[in-house]
Symmetry: C2
Subunit: 182 residues, 2 copies
Amino acid sequence: MKVLMIVSHPRLETGSIANKIIAAEAGKLDNVEIRDLYRIYPQFEIDVQAEQEALEAADLIVLQFPLFWFSIPAMLKHWLDKVFTEEFAFGPGAHKLKGKQLLLSVTVGGPEGAYSRGGHFDATIDDLLQPMHLMASFTGMTAQDSIVSFGMMAGAEKAGEPSASEIQAPVHAEQLVALLKA
Amino acid sequence: MKVLMIVSHPRLETGSIANKIIAAEAGKLDNVEIRDLYRIYPQFEIDVQAEQEALEAADLIVLQFPLFWFSIPAMLKHWLDKVFTEEFAFGPGAHKLKGKQLLLSVTVGGPEGAYSRGGHFDATIDDLLQPMHLMASFTGMTAQDSIVSFGMMAGAEKAGEPSASEIQAPVHAEQLVALLKA
């Protein structure tokens, strides 16, 4: 199984703990190609053909991102807006994504309890990512159950102790790697 | 009432009918400042200070955009990700947006009936824009009822007849302008 992992964190090297650890672990597998969008396209000048070729070659597409403002980061949306063209991703005779698997691998700053119906935000992560699930079905992809880690916020740890991100990210990565190997 | 209208269409002059008409009508009012993000920031290099100053000066913030992939366009998300900083938009003692009004003014390509629970996409526009409503409450803004026009897709009209966009956009604009005058 060929895996394309699209990583969308604006400061993967300097500002991310969890996304960096998860991407590094997944990147150790031979069958995984990682594309770090904010690094490849610092001025948002996406190479549509290169991205479409990478997508076509993959069986499973993993979108790795932090939840920003209850949604996907801007770069990932830009990638969708630019790369998922009518000729490529939908429309008569152009279903290049049809039959592929899609997996959302998400880190969330806030606590799990806030993201529930009746909870602080009165919405689950799946509620908030409904546009992505509709995108999957619109393009003929099958969305697997998302992998989501909560409380991935820097600065909340006590001095000298590992952060929640440092503790949880390896667990998240292990769950993801097990899926990518299967 | 001072109004800031943030327009986010990647091809406002050449590829938009509805957003162009709506922005032009709103721009005739003396109390409305229009910022066309894709034009101002072709390489996504947002001037955070300029955007924050424009926001601070406004009583009502109108976000004018087409729905792309069941969500806001990438540029609008980039604007949110960059401009709505912790020092500015949320966090202790930094609620610069608190008390302002927010209005989503949205054009949608698909037909209205598709965007309902039980309908083709099994979600309303409000469901899909839930991240924006949560953003509003997180920053202390009050979201007014959105203005939404459906069927705003080029190419569906018969030769020689006006498109749905050309027919509906002035209606949408009139509704918006009435609110901005109030």
